[in-house]
Amino acid sequence: MDRELPSRVELLQGTLDLLILRTLLAGPSHGHAIAKHIRRTSEDLLQVETGSLYPALHRLEAKGWIAASWKLSDRGKRARYYHLTPLGRKQLASEQSKWRAFSRAVGLILNPVDQEGP
């Protein structure tokens, strides 16, 4: 159904925010590196669309969860580096516990431990 489409996008978007925040926990990084990191770490299972990555980064910045500054990259070019703010750290913690609860709930339904008798 058409109506499901927005909720799936919503879910993905929320997840992307979580993934970005988690990636930045390791230290400041620029957009391209974030995308690469997510792709590599997920063993190429998650492809981050550039078309949604940058809007997401700017949205998180607008919310004050991450902040940006211009630094020189490894290859000596100017790049926009994002880093977590204290607010973002807090947000990450709460998003993470929400995600864990969610995935546990989904896991419980998909792999029931005790099945009730017929």
Binding site: H30, H32, T50, Y54, P55, R59, K77, R78
Partner: protein, 924 residues
């Protein structure tokens, strides 16, 4: 809040952010290309692959920008920029639209500011909302009533009955006792003799307006003095020392400052008063129509009345049947108007029933009506509210017309932009987004017009004030632009912007994209957006014509009324007469010397070079109105008879023809046989065909037994001349010599017949009177012509304003028509080209275009005529000498409008007939 400021900072750094985003994305592309190159692609291919992966760059930028917030503001900025560009590109359209709207908004703002100051504004006192004014209502003014005598104004109610705000003093005391409702009750009394007080300050005399107030008046209103103290209860009792309070303006004018005034001793009507204080600058009393200069305690009425034969009588002060004091009160907190009415009405009812002596009086007792008092007395409101509502309706119609006009011009332009709209819709623009953009344009247009309109309003207010004041220096009506008025103007502009913008915006975005795109530039089918084959544009043109007709009819009616008034037969010659008033009695002259003083003054004035004749009368003819018991010898007095005390050569001076007998002459003085001149109406009513000369008239002094005052011989009959107004029927009038007994001379109005401009003689007059007696001030200086204009001031204002409105309307309507027809002609260039190529004559093309215009005009005129016939009766009371469906006004309006329509339609029609068929077809 934090997020707000962050966004604000971003907005300021917007262009830097744009550049940063570009750089950030470029960096991404470089990195990606690098990656691909590392995987073995050639540099060029690696670049392309990176670009491909990135996808729609513009969309990405758009999406990212959206996260910065302020999308709506961002779009508004775009819309505004676009709107300004469009407006600049169509300068003629823009200036026409803005000017016509600004005139409409300006006129509305000006009229509204007058309504604000007259009808809506509260008194500048503390907590005006809790003030109430007490009134009474009686079913009829005919027959016996408990109201034996009155001093004050009564008003006829629209349907029936009569109402007034004056009470006997005992009733005021009754209200004072009712302290469950009021926290304080106070009274005031603007007696007629107070209107012109002779105020002498250190030998300098002038006329000032007075008002008497009860001891609680200032405390009740909550007014504090700027200097000294105000009148308190102790000042308002018999035997208290005579004190006075003056207004701030008066203290400035006569003492050069409030502080200087306090403690001064002044003479009021030759009686000594001590000035104790000054009211604040903003305070003007409780009647916005007449701000007093001097406030006196109520008890001074007895004092001042004693020296005047028609002055206030001490026995009336506590009389139960003499209605005179105005009563106001302040409601206790929490008490509503309805509660006050419920509590007081029965108490007054009981009291007033006790004053009735027979059944007829009991059947028509006045009933108490408690009214809001925040705005003070409603004399101004009663006088001006209806004219103002009529004017507001007229300017409202002008604004509607201007709106229709601009809507039509926008519609025409929108039609020209159909391809643009279709293109934008097909490229994926949302319809709402386009409507919003078009609305931004129209609202911007309206707001600019509003700003210009406020300028027009400032002029309008000045002009209207001049028009209404009509040369009077003490004009009290001061309208101004305050925040209320400006707010109303802004709201009006916004509303009009949405109103005239919405329809064209919706219309022009309702486009079938494909056909519109396929259309050639010039060949759009004629009637695309039709409702029952009538386009919105045609409806707008018709309504403009209808509205114009309404305004033209209004103008016609008022102009004809003015013409009727100006051609009223006066019975005297109004040109080259100077009038002014002097009151020697108030300056201390006594009988019988006062008559000699006036006679001597007349002689001195006659001697001024250039003064052809000079005379005097107790009132000017236009303001005359004295009724005393007068009748033929041997018959009872007839209440219809009127008198006017005059001096020698009055008829010669006013140039009223004497039909038989003679004028009053110098020999008709004290001691010589009493004489009178009657007018034709008097002769006809009392003597029929008999010769009135030599007959006797008896004048009695009202009071116990109506003592015989004068037995006069009729020595002349004069032609009917206006008496007491311009439009009233001329009553039977007897003109008496002023120096031959009761009523004894008080104030006098001198009339000088001059050669050349009467106003040139003012200085000589002032000099002569100052020489005769420096204590006697000259007041009410005016020419006879100006006095007459003053009485028809409202009619003059209406006629001039409405003529202006009508011209404005015609211009707006013509411009609208011209625009619409021109556009239609331009749209049909191809069709007309073909017709001409097939042999149509130029004349036929003109006819074709004009026929359509006249078709619209016929419908518009019919609707307008129906509306005019239906609504003109509302202005019936403003008309004189004609009915509201005056055929001349109606037909004149139709003729003028039709002429204007043909003019507006002919120019484009002629242009159509000049179309070169070859050029038109090639264009296709």
């Amino acid at each position: 809040m934090n997020a707000f400021f962050r966004r604000l900072r971003w907005l300021a750094q917007r262009s830097r952010k744009e550049a940063e985003l570009r750089e950030e994305l470029q960096f991404h592309l470089d990195e990606e290309a690098e990656l691909h190159q590392a995987e073995g692609l050639a540099e060029e291919q690696a670049r392309w692959a990176a670009r491909r992966e990135l996808g729609n760059l513009t969309l990405l930028q758009e999406d990212t920008r959206a996260t910065w917030g302020w999308t709506i503001l961002e779009q508004l900025r775009q819309d505004l920029r676009y709107a300004f560009r469009t407006m600049a590109a169509n300068r003629l359209f823009t200036s026409l639209a803005i000017t016509s709207l600004a005139l409409g908004i300006g006129a509305n703002t000006a009229i509204y500011s007058f309504m604000d100051s007259i009808l809506l504004r509260s008194l500048p006192v503390s907590d005006p909302e809790s003030l109430v004014v007490l009134n009474w209502y009686a079913k009829t003014r005919e027959g016996d009533s408990v109201m034996k005598a009155m001093s004050g104004t009564t008003y006829d109610e629209p349907n029936s009955g009569v109402t007034a705000g004056i009470f006997p003093f005992p009733a005021f005391e009754l209200f004072q006792k009712n302290d469950s409702v009021f926290s304080i009750v106070f009274a005031h009394y603007p007696s007629w003799q107070m209107r012109r007080l002779n105020v002498s300050i250190k030998g300098q005399v002038d006329v000032a307006a007075g008002w008497t107030v009860s001891g609680d008046y200032f405390r009740g209103l909550g007014v504090a003095p700027v200097a000294g103290r105000l009148i308190i209860s102790d000042d308002d009792r018999a035997g208290a020392s005579a004190v006075a309070v003056v207004s701030y303006g008066f203290s400035q004018k006569r003492f050069g400052g409030a502080a200087n005034a306090v403690g001064q001793s002044i003479l009021i009507d030759n009686l000594s008063f001590t000035l104790i204080g000054v009211t604040p600058p903003e305070f003007f009393g409780v009647d916005p129509a007449s701000p007093p200069d001097v406030y006196l305690p109520m008890h001074t009425n007895e004092l001042l009345g004693a020296s005047n034969q028609f002055g206030f009588r001490a026995e009336n002060y506590l009389a139960r049947n003499y209605y005179w004091v105005h009563v106001m009160g302040r409601l206790r907190p929490g008490v509503t108007l309805a509660q006050a009415q419920a509590a007081l009405a029965p108490a007054f009812q009981q009291w007033v029933a006790g004053t009735a002596t027979n059944d007829q009086e009991r059947a028509n007792l006045p009933q108490l009506v408690v009214k809001k008092g925040a705005g003070g007395l409603d004399s101004l409101r009663r006088r001006y509210s209806k004219p103002l509502y009529v004017l507001l309706t007229l300017v409202g119609l002008i604004l509607a017309l201007a709106c229709a006009n601009v809507a039509n011009l926008l519609l025409v332009r929108a039609a020209a932009r159909r391809r643009e709209m279709a293109l934008r819709l097909s490229l994926g623009a949302g319809r709402l987004r386009i409507v919003r953009q078009l609305l931004t344009e129209s609202v911007l247009l309206a707001l600019l017009s509003g700003a210009l309109g406020v300028l027009f309003a400032i002029w309008g207010i000045r002009f209207l004030t001049l028009l209404l004041a009509n040369g009077r220096a003490n004009f009290t009506l001061h309208a101004e632009l305050n925040w209320d008025v400006l707010g109303a103007a802004a709201a009006l502009s916004l509303l009009t912007g949405v109103l005239f913008g919405l329809a064209p915006a919706l219309e022009s975005t309702r486009v079938d994209v494909m056909p519109a795109l396929k259309e050639s530039r010039a060949g759009q089918p004629a009637a695309r957006h039709t409702v029952w084959r009538i386009s919105l544009s045609q409806i707008l043109v018709m309504s403009q014509i209808a509205i114009s007709l309404l305004l033209l009819v209004a103008a016609g009616l008022f102009v004809r009324t003015l013409a009727n008034l100006e051609s009223v037969e006066l019975g005297f010659n109004r040109e080259n007469v100077l009038l002014f008033q002097v009151d020697a009695r108030k300056a201390g002259h006594k009988d019988p010397e006062i008559a000699a003083f006036y006679a001597d003054l007349r002689k001195r004035l006659s001697a001024i070079p250039g003064v052809r004749d000079a005379s005097l009368s107790e009132d000017s003819l236009i303001e005359a109105g004295t009724g005393l018991p007068l009748g033929l010898a041997g018959a009872p007095p007839n209440p219809a008879n009127r008198i006017l005390n005059i001096g020698p050569a009055f008829f010669r001076t006013m140039q009223i023809p004497i039909l038989a007998g003679r004028d009053i002459e110098e020999r008709d003085g004290p001691g010589s046989p009493a004489v009178a001149v009657i007018n034709e109406a008097f002769a006809k009513a009392n003597f029929g065909n008999r010769n009135p000369l030599g007959q006797h008239l008896i004048l009695r002094e009202p009071g116990e037994g109506d003592r015989l005052a004068r037995d006069m011989e009729i020595v002349g009959v004069c032609r009917n001349a206006r008496y007491g107004g311009l439009t009233r029927d001329i009553p039977p009038v007897a003109y008496l010599a002023y120096s031959q007994g009761y009523p004894r001379p008080d104030q006098m109005v001198y009339a000088l017949r001059t050669s050349g401009d009467p106003l040139l003689y003012i200085n000589s007059v002032r000099e002569i009177i100052h020489q005769a007696d420096a204590r006697v001030p000259v007041s009410e200086v005016r020419t006879q012509a100006a006095e007459i204009d003053h009485t028809i001031n409202q009619e003059i204002t209406f006629a001039e304003l409405c003529s202006g409105f009508a011209i404005l309307t015609l211009v707006i309507a013509c411009v609208g028509l011209y625009g619409t027809v021109s556009y239609n002609v331009a749209r049909r260039t191809g069709e007309i080209g073909i017709r001409m190529a097939l042999g149509a004559q130029r004349g036929r093309i003109v006819q074709m275009v004009l026929r359509e215009v006249l078709g619209l005009a016929a419908v518009g005129l019919t609707i307008g005529m129906a509306a005019a016939l239906g609504t003109s009766k509302f202005v019936e009371s403003f008309l004189y000498g004609m009915k509201s469906n005056d055929p001349l006004a109606l037909l004149g309006a139709v003729a003028i409008l039709l002429g204007a329509i043909i003019l507006g339609g002919y120019a484009p029609a002629r242009k159509a007939s000049r179309i070169d068929p070859m050029a038109a077809l090639r264009h296709e």
